[in-house]
């Protein structure tokens, strides 16, 4: 019996074009992604149904957690450097250029300004050890406003000088934190007429 020859079409598809596209996209996403910085104070933010994201720039974040410890951080290295310059003038503590540069790479900090030099001198992993940084003082001393008040003012001025924008303030509190410690921060903000700020929350996943 003669064999019937069936011509089979090849089932392989040329993957080159698809590969090109996918790697292009991959490159794009890798470059736009920002690496997550380690935070000196880990907080578990409460959940809400709000869908608005926090802005990326010109944002000062006040982190409250671990029984009322307050940490502060600003976005932007230039702004951080200028903020430190203003604070060093105000408290007459000199910082060298190297210290300023190291400070500008820190995401946030939570020490009284007298201890800031020691924290700057540490490396990243050491600095972010739990319980090392005691928090920024929030109580006013006599007639002088609290250190946190001064840091926020310095950050707002620095943002205005460099980016010519108003700094937005976000409060990132731990869900279990008692209200008085949050209230203290809100009062400091209101003391400098910042009446609008944001509360940082997670997305609520369960049915609420």
């Amino acid at each position: 019996m003669p064999k019937i020859k069936v011509k089979r079409a090849s089932t392989t598809i040329d993957m080159t074009a698809m590969c090109d596209v996918s790697f292009l996209l991959l490159t794009f996403f890798i470059l736009t992604a920002t690496a997550r910085q380690p935070e000196p104070l880990q907080v578990d933010t409460p959940a809400s149904t709000v869908q608005i994201k926090v802005p990326d720039t010109d944002l000062g974040t006040i982190t409250v957690g671990d029984d009322g410890k307050v940490f502060f951080g600003v976005t932007g290295q230039n702004i951080r450097m200028r903020m430190l310059e203003r604070m060093s003038e105000k408290y007459s503590i000199g910082f060298s250029q190297k210290e300023k540069e190291r400070f500008s790479l820190m995401e946030g900090f939570g020490v009284p300004i007298g201890n800031l030099k020691q924290i700057i001198a540490m490396d990243n992993s050491e600095r972010n050890k739990k319980g090392l940084q005691p928090g920024i003082p929030t109580d006013s001393v006599g007639n002088n406003p609290s250190e946190l008040h001064d840091w926020i003012i310095a950050a707002r001025y620095a943002t205005k000088e460099i980016d010519n924008k108003e700094m937005r303030v976000a409060i990132k509190g731990d869900a279990k934190e008692q209200y008085p410690s949050i209230k203290k921060v809100i009062d400091i903000l209101q003391g400098q007429k910042v009446n609008k700020f944001s509360l940082v929350t997670n997305l609520r996943s369960e049915d609420y």
């Binding site: 698809m18 590969c19 996918s22 809400s48 149904t49 934190e177 609008k196 509360l199 929350t201």
Partner: protein
């Protein structure tokens, strides 16, 4: 010149399928981490604190005002009007869709029907309430679409009331 053709030798081809698989996996990962990792922000506008004219306060209509006291153990106490002569309450409820939400929705409707104006909610967190409570109740305002609400300081009689209800 004679062409060198050694017959049906196929061009060397590499199977790109696993590579594409991997690339797409990574794309998915980076896409999700960039958009999902960003925290959300709830905007708060506090009433301006005028230190010079402390008594420059606006009178609120009793029948439009609902005061919500945030107590300890995730409990809420609410009343309408003033604490000395409340129009309703104080009543203790829970958070969430079986607690404060039906109350708020009902009050919104009632006040709208009775006065033609919106409900005003005053939130007063006590010292024993947590930050989660504050965010929860503000979230509730967003969900029930209360247009006017504010965060105020709790007064001593209100603390007494919470103590009496056992949620301080």
């Amino acid at each position: 010149m004679a062409e060198l053709n050694t017959g049906g030798k196929a061009q060397p081809r590499v199977d790109l399928t696993p590579m594409v698989d991997l690339a797409f996996l990574l794309i998915t990962f980076f896409m999700l981490t960039t958009t999902l990792a960003k925290p959300h922000a709830m905007d708060v506008a506090m009433p301006d604190k005028d230190k010079e004219n402390k008594d420059d306060n606006l009178e609120l209509a009793d029948n439009r005002t609902m005061t919500v006291l945030l107590g300890a153990n995730n409990k809420i106490s609410y009343y309408m009007g003033q604490l000395e002569k409340p129009l309703e309450g104080p009543t203790t409820v829970d958070y969430g869709k079986n607690g404060i939400r039906p109350v708020l929705l009902k009050k919104l409707k009632d006040v709208q029907a009775a006065t033609g104006k919106g409900l005003i909610v005053v939130l007063r967190p006590s010292d024993h309430s947590s930050y989660r409570n504050l965010v929860d109740i503000m979230d509730e305002m967003k969900i029930t679409n209360v247009q006017q609400y504010m965060i105020g300081d709790i007064s001593d009689p209100e603390v007494e009331q919470l103590k009496k209800d056992g949620i301080y």
